[in-house]
């Protein structure tokens, strides 16, 4: 433990990061290690380029959008705390989380709603709080193989939007989005075991 915390001291603001993200020290260390590995020029932050270097992301249909989500507000760099904050969405929900955290005001980053919100903002490109028809179509175009034609895509889009759209505004708001997934075990599906 001693060595762990001393090594963790390398990380700037380690305590506040831990408090915010709920990551364990070991996990933070591992992430920091990874962060430094990604940061090739040792500049202390990551640029889009750094993330784009990850080969597998290039073949991920949502890869670019996920990279973008590391860079909120069009910033060009992300430091370690920002990096970890994004990853914190994928920390599995533990029982203690729900109990203890409720008392404090901020919702933990890995709450169901925040997990959903993370997914939501991947769809909502213009950030207006709604997944419009166009945005849905774009996502579907990414996700569905080339073999499905544009027309088919459009009808799928129609149906998808329509299915979730409850207030009839032709777009999916976050609440509608969450509602359409209420039966899904999002806590489980949006968690990665190693990010404890």
């Amino acid at each position: 433990m001693g060595s762990l915390s001393s090594r963790a001291a390398v990380i700037p603001d380690v305590d506040s990061i831990r408090r915010e993200t709920g990551f364990s020290q070991a996990c933070l260390l591992r992430l920091h290690h990874r962060f430094q590995a990604l940061d090739r020029d040792k500049k202390g932050y990551l640029s889009r380029m750094d993330l784009q270097q990850i080969g597998a992301l290039a073949v991920n249909p949502l890869g670019d959008r996920i990279i973008d989500s590391f860079f909120p507000d069009r910033s060009q760099r992300v430091d370690f705390s920002g990096f970890v904050r994004v990853l914190a969405h994928f920390r599995p929900i533990e029982e203690e989380d729900s109990e203890i955290r409720d008392l404090k005001k901020p919702e933990p980053l890995n709450s169901r709603m925040n997990k959903l919100r993370f997914a939501f903002q991947l769809y909502d490109l213009d950030g207006d709080g709604k997944i419009s028809w166009q945005e849905m179509l774009q996502v579907l175009r990414l996700m569905v193989g080339v073999q499905v034609t544009e027309e088919q895509l459009e009808s799928i889009t129609d149906r998808t939007v329509q299915e979730a759209d409850e207030d009839g505004d032709g777009a999916v708001s976050f609440l509608e989005f969450a509602k359409s997934l209420e039966k899904m075990n999002v806590e489980q599906k949006m968690s990665i075991r190693i990010l404890k």
Binding site: W133, M143, F177
Partner: protein, 896 residues
């Protein structure tokens, strides 16, 4: 009580089954010379008995299910075993010897494969692989643990003197026994768990374990058996090593055989395009070949079939036709259920044979206790370890169910029967113990697990319909997780899954899937497709219901006829009725080409659509073959469009359409007009709407729909056709809207009275329930919101009275002579399709309605109608042919 009574009910049947063998003895020496009647029982004996047993089992199943109460309390497997006991007793009493027992050979070669194939093929693969770690742990470690602990504990029991000394068994014998008794049985687990409905994760873990532990069981059993045969003194260290090695050979070998056959199967089905009929057969043949091959090489046959089913499903399902899919599904389920039934029944019967039994209370009780105890202990230990790695830990309740769900079954029984008495002197004791264990687990645990699950409040599986959103978002989540794993630099499950999917997409699917199938193969698309089919089916069901309840085919008419109606109205309108302001507005928007298109489309729909439906309804095999899919697609799209239209009614459509492509622009514009109109009408209270108006609206919409379908039909290209449909539909919808709104302003000319009647007559005569259904529900749904009340009223009045609203009739009748004459020259051909549908009713109905109620005033009108109808009929009795004939040229024109 009931439970006791049911087997008794089955007795007479049994008697029938028993008798033949009896008689067979007496006519042993047939009389010489020519016999008029010869009793050749022996020639048919074997297959006859098989058939009879299956029949008895099936009948028993039917009887069990006569009472829902019994089957909800008692698992079928219990009932079957009990029935088997009774039957066995009868056979024993009658034949004085035990017959018809569960032969290991029969069991392993014929009864087990269908069950395993069924479970492998329909295994939810995603769930299975998500939990593969846990499943493998329980299957391998758990089974080994159970076998060794149980065997060792029993040996200890014997050493302690609690087992009677006449049970001559050494440590190896007990180990052998432990290995065969320790394996959770897939058949029993499936039979019980299918009725319990625990949540999927729990189910897949227990069930997956029962399937995968076969390899371990087989190896353990064989190794121990050969050790016993060699004698413990001769076993050398290398033999243990070989034993361990054989575990890998048997399991991996079995899996490999399965995968190879899965590959072959998928590849074969890729080329069955012209011989669809053998597709289901191929599935069974190759899967069975996998089983036999594995068995031949003494690999794990269960594993082979499971992997075969699991591996081939995706590709096979994509390759084979829809009908073949259904055939495969049903045949598989039938065979499996059949085999399962027979297994349990034979198990019961075999238990009666006391010659195999040798009872030792110590052994039996000890085994029961150890089995339960070590199973529970094993589960708890393994779960503790697994939970360190699992994202979602298995909680205590899960563990209880898993321990308690460790049912033993026919596999153990068959294995114990296979023991060689000369090598294993305690075989009889083992047999008795196994039977008791199997009975105990299947009956006692099977009976109590349901209440237990309820009592513990185990999360049940909740069945909810898939939605597109869920599917889409689930994929998104997968991609997100894969990406995050990449970012974190951890190559975990998601990473490999992602890898695999890419590999599959790039190479495997290309290789194993028909090109057409591959092209449209996409999970999201798939869900979309399935949703549409489901909606279509439920829609038809609903419609059917409405129809039957109303006892009318009536509603169908409007739709059918509507097609013609619209075209006519369009023509009329185009030809320059300036009377209505709204009309004018629209006219300005419409281009000449549009008009042409519309007319053509209307014609088309009248002609092409109908025959299509008819084929569907009659299900004639000859027509389905190649384009069945395509047609289905179309139908689906229609359904879809209908729904969309509905939603468009609410404000939404504006948005959607503004977004849609330039292609839609003109329609969009028109739509706006239509909307405006609709709004105008909205202002009016529904009461104000004349029936005529509502009718008109409805009709036009309908017609548009049909038209769209027709237009789609014009494009026969495989997938393109589908695409076109989608677009077409939306356009059509728009049009429908527009025209509907147009119609709102009452223009007398619009309604051509005479054709309607004739049209009505036609569909009525042909009496296609389908059509009627289709139309009716659609119409109700399609009517714009504002109109809906009016429409509903009319519909309800229709249903209740079986007669048209009287108000409408007058308008129709009044107009006829004039429009008729005008139309006939212009478009005599339209008439068939034309059917002014809407509210015309078959004369008989109309009459009935009248007599029932209202309409004293209508009588004269009716008279007017009838002559018209007759006239029409004569000309257009065969709308299908006439239409199709005409469609083609029109179609071309439109294309140009």
């Amino acid at each position: 009580m009931l439970r006791a009574a049911l087997p008794l009910l089955a007795l007479p049947l049994v008697g029938v089954a028993e008798e033949p063998p009896q008689k067979s003895g007496s006519p042993g020496e047939p009389p010489p010379g020519l016999a008029l009647f010869r009793w050749q029982w022996h020639e048919v004996e074997a297959p006859y008995l098989v058939a009879l047993w299956i029949l008895v089992a099936s009948l028993a199943k039917i009887v069990f299910h006569l009472s829902r109460k019994v089957t909800s309390l008692v698992p079928e497997s219990c009932l079957l075993i009990l029935l088997g006991l009774v039957l066995g007793g009868i056979v024993l009493a009658v034949a004085k010897k035990a017959e018809y027992q569960l032969e290991p050979g029969t069991f392993f070669l014929f009864l087990l494969p269908p069950i395993v194939l069924d479970s492998g093929y329909f295994m939810p693969s995603r769930l299975f692989f998500d939990n593969l770690g846990a499943i493998l742990t329980y299957a391998v470690v758990g089974t080994l643990w159970n076998a060794f602990t149980t065997g060792a504990a029993l040996w200890g029991l014997q050493q302690a003197g609690l087992v009677a000394p006449r049970v001559q068994a050494g440590f190896l014998d007990f180990l052998l026994f432990g290995s065969l008794i320790s394996a959770v049985d897939p058949v029993a687990v499936l039979a019980v768990f299918e009725e319990v409905h625990v949540n999927e994760t729990l189910f897949i873990i227990v069930f997956g374990e029962s399937l995968l532990n076969d390899a371990v069981t087989v190896v353990l059993y064989k190794v121990c058996n050969s050790f016993v045969e060699m004698g413990s003194a001769n076993v050398q260290a290398t033999d243990y090593l070989k034993g361990v090695a054989s575990l890998f050979v048997v399991s991996l070998g079995g899996a490999a055989v399965g995968l190879v056959f899965a590959f072959l199967l998928a590849l074969t089905t890729r080329f069955t395009k012209r011989v669809r009929i053998i597709e289901p057969l191929l599935v069974f043949l190759l899967a069975y070949a996998a089983y036999l091959t594995a068995e031949m090489a003494s690999l794990s046959a269960i594993l082979a079939v499971t992997m075969c089913g699991l591996g081939c499903k995706k590709y096979v399902e994509a390759n084979i036709s829809h009908k073949s899919r259904t055939a495969v599904k049903y045949t598989m389920k039938t065979l499996a259920s059949c085999a399962e039934t027979v297994i349990f029944m034979l198990l019961g019967i075999s238990a009666v044979d006391s010659s195999k039994w040798a009872w030792d209370s110590g052994l039996v009780l000890g085994t029961l206790v150890f089995i339960l105890f070590f199973r529970a202990l094993g589960v708890v230990l393994q779960t503790w370890v697994l939970n360190q790695f699992r994202l979602v830990p298995l909680d205590k309740i899960d563990q209880v169910v898993m321990s308690y769900g460790g049912l033993r079954g026919a596999v153990a029984f068959a294995l114990v029967i296979l023991l060689d008495r000369t090598k294993v002197p305690a075989k009889d004791y083992f047999v008795a113990t196994t039977i008791v264990v199997v009975f105990f687990t299947v009956i006692v645990q099977g009976l109590t697990i349901k209440p237990l699950v309820k009592w513990l409040k185990v999360k049940r599986s909740e069945h909810h319909k898939p939605t597109l959103n869920q599917e889409l978002h689930e994929h998104t989540f997968d991609h997100i997780l894969a990406a995050v794993e990449d970012v974190v630099g951890h190559h975990g499950y998601h990473y490999w899954r992602d890898r695999w999917e890419q590999f599959d997409k790039k190479y495997l699917s290309q290789l194993l899937m028909r090109r057409s199938a591959y092209r449209i193969r996409d999970q999201i698309w798939d869900v979309y497709y399935r949703l549409n089919i489901r909606d279509a089916i439920s829609f038809v069901d609903q419609g059917g219901h409405v129809l039957s309840s109303a006892g009318l085919t009536l509603p169908s008419m409007p739709s059918r006829n509507s097609v013609a109606e619209t075209s006519v109205t369009n023509l009329l309108r185009e030809s320059g009725s300036g009377a209505c302001l709204d009309l004018q507005v629209i006219d300005t928007v419409r281009s000449g080409r549009d008009r042409e298109d519309a007319v053509m489309h209307h014609l088309l729909c009248g002609g092409l659509y109908k025959p299509r439906r008819r084929y569907k309804a009659s299900c004639s095999r000859h027509f389905i073959s190649e384009d069945a899919q395509e047609r289905q697609d179309k139908e689906i799209f229609q359904q879809n469009m209908k729904r969309r239209l509905e939603s468009f009614k609410s404000t939404k459509h504006n948005i959607c359409f503004t977004k849609s492509k330039p292609r839609l622009r003109k329609t969009g514009r028109r739509k706006k007009d239509g909307v405006a109109n609709a709004e105008a009408t909205n202002g009016k209270p529904p009461r104000d709407l004349g029936f005529q108006d509502t009718a008109a609206v409805i009709l036009t919409v309908e017609s548009d729909k049909e038209e769209e379908s027709d237009s789609s039909e014009t494009e026969k290209e495989d997938d393109e056709g589908i695409i076109f449909v989608a677009r077409a539909t939306s356009e059509v919808l728009q049009e429908g809207k527009v025209s509907g709104s147009l119609e709102v302003c009452p223009s007398p000319r619009i309604i051509p009275p005479s054709p309607t009647c004739a049209e009505k007559e036609l569909p009525w005569k042909s009496g296609h329930g389908d059509l009627a259904v289709y139309v009716s529900s659609e119409t109700t749904k399609i009517v714009p919101v504002d109109m809906q009340t009016g429409w509903n009223q009319s519909i309800s009045s229709l249903e209740s009275l079986a007669s048209p609203p009287c108000t409408q009739a007058p308008t129709l009748t009044r107009l006829p002579p004039h429009p008729l004459s005008a139309e006939e020259p212009q478009a005599p051909l339209h008439l068939p399709s034309d059917p002014r549908p809407s509210f015309a009713f078959p004369p008989s109905l109309a009459k009935a309605g009248r007599s029932h109620s209202e309409s004293s005033a209508d009588i004269p009108q009716q008279q007017e109608l009838q002559p018209l109808m007759g006239h029409k009929n004569r000309t257009h009795l065969s709308p299908g042919t006439a239409n199709s004939h005409w469609c083609i040229p029109f179609n071309r024109g439109g294309r140009l």
